[in-house]
Structures are given as C-alpha cells and as structure tokens.
C-alpha cells in the first residue's frame, strides 16, 4: 500500500525520469522485503507421485522450485522449516478444465457464440481464436482462492462462447499480478461443435459445424503453406489476403498447441478420434464420460482424455413422468466407472471440474470414481502428473521432484478422505496456510470480542506470506 500511494504522489513529469530507479527499488524491496524464498517441510509423509512414497522425509523449496526431496535431505540454513509430523505432502492438484479467472456468461461471450449473421464459412461465425485467456485473467475471482484452499495449484482455464472461442491458458493459482499466474499463455485451442446459427444462420447443425471446422483448418493449413511462399517471392505471387483466424490459428498449430475436441458420449468420442486423425492435430478429447463403452478404441488412438467430473444426473426439475430410456439410465449409472475403464485400457486421462461450483463437489465426484473401482493412486495421477503430461508440462509440474515448480499441498491425511484437511498450499514456492472455515455469523448476532481474528476468519481463510 505504501508503495502504491507513493507512486501516486510522484508528479507525472518526474515519472519517466524516475521509472528506472523506481523499478529497481521495487525489485530490491521484493527481494529483501521478508518474502521467504526457501522452505523445508520435514518429518512428513511425502507422496511424490513420480516415485514411491517417502514415509518420513523432507521437501526443500528454493526460489519457487523444488530443490530436494527425500528421507535424508539437508535443510538449507536460510529455509523456513515446517514440521510436517502427521502431515502428508502431495504435488499441487491440477484442474484440467475450468474458467477460473475468466468472466462467465458475459455479453461478449454471448455475442461470440451467436452466428446468426453468418451464411457461409467465409463469414467465420462464432470464431475468435485471437482471444487469449491469459490476457483476460481476473485474479479477483473468488474461486481461485477456494480452489487453492482445497489443494489445487494449477488449472487449465478455457475461454468459452462459440466454435473457436479462443486460446486456453495453464495458470498457477497465485501471484502478485495476472502475469505471475500464467504458466503457459497459449496452451490449447478449445473447440465446440455446438451449432450457433439458429434456423437461418450458418452453421445450424452438428454436421454443418464440423464441416465449418474442417474448412477453417483447411484454410489455416493453406495459409501456413502459402505465407512463406509469398514472403519469399513477393514480386511473383499474388498478395495474400489477411484473415485474422487463419493468421492466429496457423501460428497456434505450428506452435503445437493442443486442440481440445468435445467428446462426451461414446459416439462423440469415436467421432473425435476420427476427426483428430483426419485433421492431423494434436488432439485431446474433453468430456469423456461414456468412455467406458469405447475404452479400447481410445487406447488404440493414443489420444488423451480430459474427463469431466460433473457426472451426468437426471435434470433437477425434470418431469417425473418423463420416459427414461434404458440407455440414459445406464449412462448415469456407469459414467463414474469411466476412469476405471480408461485406466484399465491404458488411456491417459486427467480430471476437470467444469460445471461444478465448489471444490468439495470435485472431491465428491472423485469419490464416486474411486467407489466405482478407480485406484486412489490413479485418481491422484489424473489430478497431478498425468494432467501435467497431457498439458505438455510434465517436465515442470505434477510431481514432487527436484527442479519442478514448487506446487505442493500439505494435508493432515489421505487427500481423498473427506475428513482430511488441507493445512498448507505452496504455489510457485509461495506459502499459503489454510485455516478452517468459519461460517459467517447471522445478522444481528453479537460480534465476538476479538474483532481482529473474526474479521480475518470471515474475509479470508488463507494467508499468504509476506503480502
């Protein structure tokens, strides 16, 4: 606060002159200002995921990365030491599909998904691949904190609205400013096959939407091929027209970004595999809930799957007299068995929470999967290392190993036990202590004497270090 108010006091004319000095000073201040960069959690049970469990070991964090992990690890003298007796250290959890930090259902999103004005592919209906989630992060999204308190340190945050809504980002769930959150700004290109045209616009059918995507990918491939030829021979070839979609997408695909294809039912999954092969994209399917029917085909395709943890259920206010088909009933009954089937078939998968409102619902959903036979180890992998691998960040996220980003969650027991509490969370080596939630008081009730503590409990049950 002091810093900021001082900045305001600096007259504008001096601002430019001072800028260099000021930035230098800020850096120094951050370096020396008490924010610890070294930590050690000792005497803890450590679940590295990438290796065997260490029953009594130490994790050392240095400057945002994991420096060492093991049963006998030297603790650097400058480290803050946390006694992990009775505690378990896991890699920070990864939620592989959210809209954390993004505005939801806003007008812009609705506008993006409307394609009524379009009558053919050249009109590029509901197509905004230039929209980058990393550039739109709102770090005051309350959910970021609640996800972090539950042990999530990383998320794929995906823009929505339209057939090509934009580009998704991998973010860590803490930082000083939005840029600090972003682990990979242009991580993937999500697709939706939802028709946008109504009866009089294009595309207004599933097959039209797929045809549209095919045309856009063809155009993008054409642009990627034509651009270097034109640049090398500007005097001998026709000038290339500029199309924002082709320009952005050709770079994204050359950059090997993942393409997220919607595929929840078995038909959609089989179709997704076929389209991924036809389009020669680095595809990941999302949804995946009827994967139990086609696990073998998925395994053969080697395409990974992001499994949505919002399991299908009968619509809340559905007509009780409405005929339920056996197929729907079976789907609702068996969907939580999908992770088990995928694990058995050797399909690489991760979990994502899209559609669930709170982290406690995520753990309830995971429990349904483990109740249906998924080994807890496999569930943990799906939320850590396998998720990191699928997102192409397995070299820096997803396990407790030297050199990885220091994303950790420290609990007082098995992370999948509903009684377990998260005690500490580290995000990029930033330490957060999780306190037990205290429900808000009822209005009119007498305030407790200790104003300070109550206020802290009400407003924020996590405290960062050195803020």
């Amino acid at each position: 606060m002091k810093l900021r108010s001082r900045c305001r006091l600096v007259p504008l004319v001096l601002l430019a002159v001072c800028a260099v000095t000021l930035i230098g000073w800020v850096c120094t201040a951050r370096g020396e200002g008490g924010e610890p960069r070294y930590f050690a959690v000792k005497n803890a049970r450590i679940v590295p995921v990438s290796g065997p469990v260490i029953e009594n070991g130490t994790v050392v964090i240095a400057k945002g990365l994991i420096q060492a992990v093991g049963a006998n690890v030297a603790i650097p003298p400058e480290a803050w030491v946390i006694d992990g007796k009775g505690l378990t250290v896991y890699p920070g959890l990864i939620d592989a599909g959210t809209n954390l930090g993004l505005a939801q259902d806003d007008d812009a999103s609705k506008k993006r998904s409307a394609g009524a004005a379009a009558s053919r592919p050249e009109d590029r209906p509901a197509t905004t691949p230039w929209r980058v989630a990393a550039d739109e992060l709102k770090t005051d999204d309350k959910r970021i904190e609640s996800w972090r308190n539950a042990g999530f340190t990383t998320a794929l945050t995906v823009p929505d609205g339209g057939i090509f809504p934009g580009q998704a980002a991998v973010i860590d769930l803490a930082g000083e400013r939005p840029g600090d959150y972003v682990v990979r700004p242009r991580a993937s290109v999500p697709l939706s096959f939802k028709p946008v045209g109504g009866f009089f616009g294009f595309p207004d059918s599933l097959m039209g939407t797929i045809a549209y995507v095919r045309q856009v990918l063809d155009d993008t491939a054409w642009y990627a091929q034509a651009e270097p030829i034109y640049q090398a021979n500007p005097t001998k070839t026709d000038r290339l027209p500029y199309d924002r979609t082709e320009f952005i997408l050709s770079r994204a695909l050359q950059n090997n970004e993942l393409v997220l294809l919607p595929a929840n039912s078995s038909i959609q999954i089989v179709r997704g595999v076929r389209l991924a092969n036809e389009w020669k994209i680095r595809a990941v399917l999302y949804g995946g809930q009827q994967g139990y029917e086609v696990a073998a085909a998925l395994a053969a395709s080697k395409i990974p799957v992001l499994v949505n943890l919002k399991w299908p259920e009968r619509a809340k206010d559905s007509d009780p007299e409405a005929e339920q088909t056996l197929r729907e009933l079976r789907f609702r009954d068996r969907a939580p068995g999908t992770p088990t089937a995928l694990a058995k078939a050797g399909v690489k998968f991760a979990f994502y929470s899209d559609g669930l409102a709170a982290p406690k619902d995520i753990f309830k959903s995971v429990k349904r999967a483990t109740d249906a036979g998924l080994a807890p180890d496999a569930a943990l992998r799906a939320m850590t290392l396998d998720a990191a691998d699928i997102l192409g960040l397995g070299d820096r996220l997803g396990s407790i190993a030297p050199g990885k980003i220091a994303n950790l969650v420290v609990t007082d027991g098995d992370i999948f036990n509903e009684k377990t509490k998260v005690k500490h969370v580290f995000v990029d080596g930033r330490w957060f202590v999780v306190h037990e939630e205290t429900p808000p008081e009822k209005p009119g009730e007498k305030k407790p004497a200790d104003d300070d503590g109550a206020a802290a409990a009400r407003s924020n049950h996590v405290e960062g270090v050195g803020r």
Partner: protein, 490 residues
C-alpha cells in the same frame, strides 16, 4: 403386430450388450423356407447356405455342412433385406444445415449415430440398408451415405462398403421456404422462387467448374516442375460438386413437380452429370419417359399426397406407371416409422397399378439397390451377394406378415423370439436402475437437510483463533506448525 408393443420391445432390447449383438458363425443354413429370390423366381421348401457373410448356395436340396448353424424356417418366407432409398435415421443432430442455400459442405457421414433406436426398429421391419439423406432445406444440400443397419456396431462400421456417396438436392417449396415463413426481422433467404432454385444450382456448378479448373491448372503447372506455386484453397463446399461432375458422387434430388424435374435434367446435361435418383418424384408418372431417358431412377411414396400444394397431383399409381415406362422405381419411407412396413408399402402397387408380386418386391429390394449402385452386393437372393435377408412368418406382401429374423452379412441382427425373451430382463434392469437413482436422490436430499441443520447450529461455535502473519514472529496463525523463522534452524 401392434406397433406400440414393437416400440416397447425395441426400447428394451435397444442396448442389451451381448444379446443384441449377433453371433458370428461363419456357416449358416436357412432351411425349408419359401425363398423369394426376386431375380429368379420363388423356391418352395428351399434353403440358403451362408458362408462368411455371403450367400454361398440357394436351392431346394441343400444339406447343412458340418458345424453349420441351422435356422429352421419351416412355413416362413425369406426375402432380400429391404433397402430404404430415402431415410433420415441414425443422424446425430439436425438433418438440415439450413442456413446457406448451398450446404454441400455438411456431410451425414460425419454425424452417423449408431445408437439411434430407429436402426433397431427398422431392422424389426426387415430393413437391412438405408440411404441416409440430408434434409431438403437447400437447393443443394449436404452429402449423404448408404448404411447397413448393423445395430451395435460403431459409426465407422455402418457405411455400405463400396457404395458411392451421394448428395441431396431439393427443388420446389422446401428450398424456397414456402412452408417455413421467415420470422419478422430476419432477411428471407434466397431463393424464394423455383426460378431462383435453378439459378442457385447453376451458380454453384459454375463455381465448381471454375474451382476444378483452378486445381487442374495448379496440378498441371506443378507437374511441370514449377516452383513456388501457391495452391488454390480447398473448398469443402465445392469438393462434392466436383465429385458429382466427375461421376464419383450420386445426386439424389428431392422433387415434386414435372416442370422442376425437367429443369434439373437440363441443368445436369449442361454441366455433364447425371441425376441418380429423383426422390418423392410425385409427378414422375407424367414424365416417366424423360426420366427413363435421362437414366435416372425414381424413388417415391406409395400413397402420400396433398400434404402441400406441390403434392396435389400425386397418385398411388406412380411407382407402377414409372415401372411400366422403364424407370427403375422404388418405394421409400422418408420416415423411421413407415420404414418398418415397407413391405406393405410395396404391396400397394399391386392394387394401384397392378404390378406383379415380384415387381412389387423389387420396389424395396433390387430397384433401390440399383439406384444406390449396390446391386452387385444386395437386393436379391443370389449366390455371391451379401447375406442380407429378412425372414417373415407370412408372405411379406401380406398384411399379416411379421418379421421373425433380420440378417446382415449373415449375422442375425434382429430375432423376434430373442427380443421377446429379453423384454422382462431389460424391464427389470431398467426398474432397478430407476430404483437406485431414486434411492440415491433421497439420500442426497437427507444429507443436504442434515447439512442445513448443522449450518444453522454452527454460528454458536467460537470463531477461530487470532492469526498473525509468520514474519511477525513465530506464529503462523492458528495451526502452530511452523517451528522456526528464517534463519531459525541454523
């Protein structure tokens, strides 16, 4: 049979994982049946030997080879599996990409839905293959595909191997939106007249011709070794039209009136392609000679008419009259329900027009097979053809006929006895799933109620201890876990 019962049965049998999937015995003998070969007469007390999915022998005195599965069809009738030349089943999502006047980029093959219950229901009506068409909202509609009704197989295994793909055209009221009033505030889509429909088709083929030329030029220049060529853009809308001009894709044109049918024949001549089938073609009887001369087939309804202006001149004699004048004619369903009784639809042409029983059968077997270019493999009971068969308890042209078994590639995909036997098992499975869901919903409700009660009590609890940031000292809030401050472990 009561259609309601059949519907219920179909719903129940729908997803039985083992039972609904046919076994795969390589050798089957269907014996002691009346065999309606369609191409070479009927055989009383005859047998059909099936090997590896193909018809290996047909005759009166066939013995079952060792290990063969025998289907005793005493008193029953075997006919070639019915081929529905106009169907919209097994489609995921809308069958119309209705926005653009030319929606040839849309492809039914992209959205085949192998889980559509109508596949099973149509199997129960003896149908083994169907021409799955895009809707009729556009002068040039989407790409189409011929499938076999291989219930239980994934989408990739539905298409009829080797059948040429098609494309839907549509003339008249539907593409000019006569019966879909444009809502206020929306610009009506062009075309709005029959003249406009012709213009849209011609314009699209002019573009396709130019597009083809661009590619031919590019390929020619490339083959001479020219460097740094930028290829033309691929256009998913024009590709199928080029295939039409190259004879690699069939045109199935929805049409009613004689004038518009003649128009399309002229346009096709101009651009050097043939219309493979005129669909509905309700006034086909008026210009049967012209249709026959154009080498096109006619696929019509038995007796639907007067449901819109352009359908007023339809007569139930259409199929018979077109047949008499040398048009390859078929009777189609255009409807998942009607597809289950195409045998009866065909029989109507015996009453209206006096077709022979065999010619009536042809309307739903050999003729649609010819129209779809699959007659080398389907449409009659001949040695070497696919064993796609329907077994009825009576003569299929009788109203009393009910399908007993339907085979595709020699596999039983529908078996009435098995269907009946499974109904109670499936019904009880369904009931137990419903009960389970109900129980868990009740548990969830109770849990929520409990949580609500708890949260009402909770505010009485004391608030948590005072917390202090760690750098302020040793404390780190109420957990008390930190044992040292920076440097403290030294």
């Amino acid at each position: 049979m009561n259609p309601k019962i059949l519907c219920a049965a179909a719903i129940l049998v729908a997803f039985a994982p083992v039972a609904s999937r046919a076994q795969n015995p390589s050798t089957i003998l269907i014996q002691n049946a009346t065999i309606l070969t369609v191409t070479h007469g009927n055989i009383e007390h005859g047998s059909i030997l099936i090997r590896d999915g193909k018809i290996a022998a047909v005759g009166a005195d066939l013995k079952a080879p060792e290990g063969a599965t025998v289907i005793d069809a005493t008193g029953q009738f075997v006919m070639p599996g019915i081929i529905d030349c106009h169907s919209h089943i097994a489609v995921d999502g809308s069958v119309n990409e209705a926005g653009p006047a030319v929606s040839s980029m849309a492809n039914i093959a992209d959205v085949l839905n192998p889980d559509d219950i109508d596949i099973y229901r149509d199997l129960a009506g003896g149908v083994t293959a169907a021409n799955i068409l895009h809707g009729s909202a556009n002068p040039i509609g989407g790409q189409t595909v011929v499938i076999k009704l291989r219930w239980g197989k994934p989408a990739s295994e539905l298409p009829f191997e080797g059948a040429l793909p098609g494309i839907k055209f549509a003339l008249g009221e539907n593409p000019k939106h006569s019966n879909f009033p444009t809502p206020p505030g929306v610009t009506p889509r062009y075309p709005g007249t029959r003249l406009g429909v012709e213009e849209v088709i011609r314009q699209a083929f002019i573009e396709a011709r130019e597009y083809k030329k661009q590619w031919d030029d590019y390929n020619r220049r490339k083959s001479t070794g020219e460097q740094n060529l930028i290829p033309p853009r691929r256009d998913v809308r024009l590709d199928p039209l080029v295939e039409v001009m190259d004879g690699k894709r069939y045109v199935h044109a929805h049409c009613y009136r004689a004038d518009e049918i003649l128009m399309l024949i002229r346009v096709a001549n101009e651009f050097g392609f043939k219309v493979r089938t005129f669909q509905h073609v309700l006034e086909g009887y008026k210009i049967a000679d012209e249709i026959a001369a154009a080498g096109a087939g006619g696929s019509t309804f038995s007796d639907w008419w007067a449901y819109k202006m352009e359908a007023f001149d339809a007569i139930p004699y259409n199929a018979a009259l077109m047949t008499e004048r040398g048009v390859i004619a078929s009777v189609n369903s255009d409807d998942a329900q009607e597809a289950r009784q195409l045998n009866q639809e065909a029989a109507k042409s015996m009453k209206f027009g006096g077709l022979s029983a065999n010619d009536a059968l042809k309307l739903i077997t050999l003729n649609p097979a010819i129209q779809l270019g699959i007659d080398a493999r389907a449409g009659s009971i001949d040695v070497g053809k696919d064993a796609d068969l329907a077994i009825y308890n009576h003569d299929p042209l009788s109203v009393y006929a009910v399908v007993q078994k339907t085979l595709i590639d020699g596999q039983v995909y529908f078996d009435r006895q098995r269907d009946i036997a499974q109904r109670s098992t499936l019904a009880s499975e369904k009931q137990s799933l419903l009960d389970k869901e109900k129980k868990s919903a009740e548990e969830k409700k109770a849990e929520e109620k409990k949580a609500e009660e708890n949260s009402e009590k909770q505010p009485e609890k004391k608030p948590s201890q005072k917390k202090k940031p760690p750098q302020a000292g040793n404390g780190n809030g109420n957990t008390g876990i930190v044992t040292g401050v920076a440097g403290g472990a030294r």
